[in-house]
Symmetry: D2
Subunit: 346 residues, 4 copies
């Protein structure tokens, strides 16, 4: 089988990373790419790394939809709803890397993004594409809301503790640090090299849009309906990678051994989650350019605090890689197809 | 007045930074430097940046003590007690950049460092040199336990909230990120360029030796006697700077306005603490090479969490700069003498 | 004496660096700053590093001229001629960090910059402000054409060999590598963090505008009138620093010893040029944030090639620091006043 | 076909990179790995990036030879001769990533490395494995001297001009800049993060051991027997990548068009050499983690100088990737097998 892949918004970072990963996928090929800013230009003019590898000319979205079996959309928030409707109508699969279909509550979507659900029925078809938690449901749909980067990394750090009721669901803190590609290809003073290099700072403290998305997942995993967390992202002077350091109060009497047993059991068959041995720490250095998520867990017995640190490549497991993982599931391929990329050792 | 400064352990990073800062001090000069590893070599052979600026030959510690009015010791833990005794005996001031005199409890020192107090009376003379909190006591001694880097940054982030009883003193979390100079000049695989660059990870999770030192300061500030915190440091791929992101539960009913008022009042006359305006975030980019500490505060009303982020240069306010600030106080100079260095804008 | 300094274009990188350096100058103070883009805003809003240190509000250029004894202009090419005329008319000193007054030949200016000399007499008053070569002439003027960064670094690497006729003046190659601040504060895809980080490339190969300026200086030093060089700049993923690696054919029979003797003699009294010992190499690491230029020389006897590598901080000796060095000379101060900043060891 | 690959010295950087690339090779698998320093340890303990991907235990060299069809040796200079003899004797292929078999002249080997040829006949079997130039000869041997990194990058920049006699063969300058992995995994002060970060300097000026190796290749390409070049390497603060900027005098009358035509013709069928369009510049950013070599050429008509800039990943085309390219040729596979990795766009 060769799946024809269309990428709408191919010149953004997530789009470009999709091109790289699809190039290494044995059962898929890039059929067409589009870009509003670079229509008519070759992709390799925008990304000279792709010279001679992908010299496709950027078309418009309509043309991409027509030529593809599955459409990946890497668009600014708000622009995916219409495109998704069109794809689903034409019987194509649609995998949205933006936020339009991620939140199930229209109120929350309105509160955090300011928009509305244009077609409520369509939203009901959307499945949140975090395979480690929602694999079965993903199989049933053709419309995937691909999670954000932080919103993949934080729940993967916490899930086994949450699912097994080992931690309190109030007072959870997610202190996250992201590489700069998370901010996208668009220029800004904050991502101008001399302003960012040798710098480090938090941003959108307790007000980042990924907050309700993480909470939605933690609600589903815990079975509770009103989990609230404090989420503080920081900008790291590296290209790729997110490290999430998560803190929660341990329930009374929970031991380090129970924590470890829960994590081992929960992740024992997951191909992309690597639970690190006792004493090891997750490091973005070890997962970059790959679809792996490294998870390390700690118990602070002095204070009764659980600490979990997880690391992903924000552009792979946090965006394009996970999107392909979802594609594999939808199309009935082995979930790991094309994604077992060895992370470089340096 | 020209204070004769001796630096024992001058070829370590803290020692080298003292040389840089004393060079810019109008009332002090480097009288002698020592180094065990480089005795007989010029300082500028070890640090070519200092060529023609400080070409002193490294001597031994005894010789440094003899030539100086004040001795700064930047030694591995455990080696300062004897040297300190000798300096105090000879009527010299002694400013220890190591940990030997920082903890008041011998039990805690033993637990975290494995050593003992060789001379309990000497330890009673030692004053913990964090001027923003203990200025008055510093004036009364000649033996300074200069704080560690994290142990400066975290309390400066939290003090006004602690002193005014605005936060709960249990469940405090200090998620800290430090530049690589904090790990010193000694070689290790973890600080080998290709292994660290484009990487980021926590280390010594909830087990770093700065933990009891931070707790000791928070106890003093709060008047409580058993404050425990969860402290997780991370290694940043930058040369300098610490960012401490601290989390605490707000006491019931405490508002953002109360927080801001407390911080404004507490730091209004501090020359080196810059309280940032609402919406601004502390960034290590803005304080590097300087003695400033930038503090930014946030209230997460959704979860009742207080977030404070502070930034210092770990080698200046977190080591050599603060040591000179202490020297200025001891010698009756204006506290800011030689330390009002403008941080470069990039 | 306190010189009142005005900075026109203070929010660009060179302007901001002037502010930092003037803050540390004992005989000068910033009297006023201007910015077209940020008029009415505080400088510390643009550069939060300066918070509480320089909170001046940006005015317009006229107002700056009025309040100052000396005006530093850090403007885009072409905008300094009129401002310079005005300053000189009003009896103020004018130090131009742009290129308008650097080239003596109007033809070359036209060829490389596309402009014209608006007032040929004014241009005759301009002195090229590279004090190591033109100190005496600088004393005679109030209008300084402050050299560019590459154009300071390359001639300092080659001068003693050129002046003493030790190398052939044809076939000289200057392979230069500059930190990113050299590209300025303006945003561009090429200086967007993820596009530049972990990258390295040449640019404007043999076509950079600093070419005729370097040639003009080499002509003056050699007494020849048509020196042509091949100049290739590269962009380094660091904030500051230029390393110039220069290659020339040794004249027949010239030895390593002659080279060294010439360099030692030529630079023996220069306060800012540090000739490195045999075997040492210039490194931008050792001069950053300072006004020093480190020079290292090598003779390749296998091929008869002379190699000189020099390092400066592009924003200090390559811009703001040298401008202040020129100011010191013009105003009769010790040339090093305010500029003997110790470069940090790391 | 599945080739059994043995890696001797697998815990060095080149060895580790071989593991990564063989993991993605459809016709080869890692059969065994060895390490002197880490014998008995898992490879993934040394490189946690490989956790769960390659958890092989490091054995000794003998054991590796026994289990493999081809042995890659990534050893310190001098240790490959004996191992190579043993492999060839047992009928295995031997690909040496060290320098022992690269120089054909024993005198030069002695002069630059201080060693001797233990078995002159064995040396005669060795073929220098730069496939773009010596593909046909590579097919005839089982003993490959895999080129060094600089020694791949510089000749690829110059070959078409050399082969076609378009440049003078005297006075060639190769100004090269390498990422830090080129210095290997061993610790040194110069590769300690804070000492290297924000730094840049030349090293081994005109005395690097790759000099005679580059000259040997240029001799073969030009048909001349005594080509000498000036080679100056620099250390870049990035993990991977070499940029070689090469300078040569154009022969009289040679035009830019002739240069371009020669390069287009010479590289038109090379799968891994990408000749960039007029005006484009080679950038290490665009080839990292891949086996591509980007080449850009320029003519400085003002001075009659030819400038060629080429970029490779020093660990791939400059080491492990090229070694696999050689393996592919020897084993009769398509030369590009397993090596058409898309370089990431960021």
């Amino acid at each position: 089988m060769t799946i024809k892949v269309g990428i709408v918004g191919a010149t953004g970072y997530a789009g470009a990373e999709l091109v790289r990963l699809i190039n290494g996928h044995p059962n898929a090929e890039v059929a067409a790419v589009s870009s509003v800013s670079f229509e008519g230009k070759k992709l390799s003019e925008v990304y000279p790394a792709y010279l001679g590898i992908n010299d496709m000319v950027c078309e418009n979205a309509d043309s991409v939809v027509e030529k593809s079996d599955v459409i990946f959309a890497a668009l600014p928030h708000g622009l995916s709803q219409e495109l998704g409707a069109k794809c689903i109508e034409s019987g194509k699969a649609f995998i949205d890397l933006g936020a339009d279909f991620r939140l199930e509550s229209e109120d929350e979507y309105h509160e955090w993004y300011g928009g509305e659900f244009l077609d409520k029925d369509l939203h009901k078809q959307a499945v949140y594409g975090l395979p480690e938690f929602f694999r079965d449901k993903i199989k049933t749909t053709k419309l995937i809301a691909n999670p954000g980067c932080y919103t993949t990394c934080v729940p993967l750090a916490l899930a086994p503790a949450v699912v097994n009721g080992l931690i309190e669901m109030t007072g959870i803190i997610a202190d996250c640090k992201s590489g700069v590609t998370g901010a996208g290809r668009g220029l800004s003073q904050g991502t101008h090299y001399p302003d960012l290099n040798e710098g480090f700072h938090p941003y959108k403290v307790a007000s980042h849009r990924h907050t309700p998305e993480i909470e939605q997942t933690l609600c589903k995993l815990s079975g509770k309906d009103n989990v609230k967390i404090t989420f503080v992202p920081h900008l790291l002077p590296v290209n790729r990678g997110i490290l999430a350091t998560c803190y929660a109060r341990l329930k009374d009497g929970v031991t380090k051994e129970q924590i470890r047993a829960a994590y081992e059991e929960y992740y024992k068959d997951e191909p992309f989650v690597r639970l690190l041995a006792d004493g090891q720490v997750a490091d973005i250095h070890n997962i970059k350019y790959s679809n792996y998520c490294d998870v390390s867990v700690f118990v602070d017995t002095r204070t009764g605090t659980f600490v979990a640190a997880s690391a992903i490549d924000n552009m792979v497991k946090g965006a394009a890689g996970q999107a392909i993982q979802n594609m594999n599931i939808i199309f009935g391929l082995e979930e790991t197809t094309g994604l077992l990329i060895t992370p470089p050792a340096f």
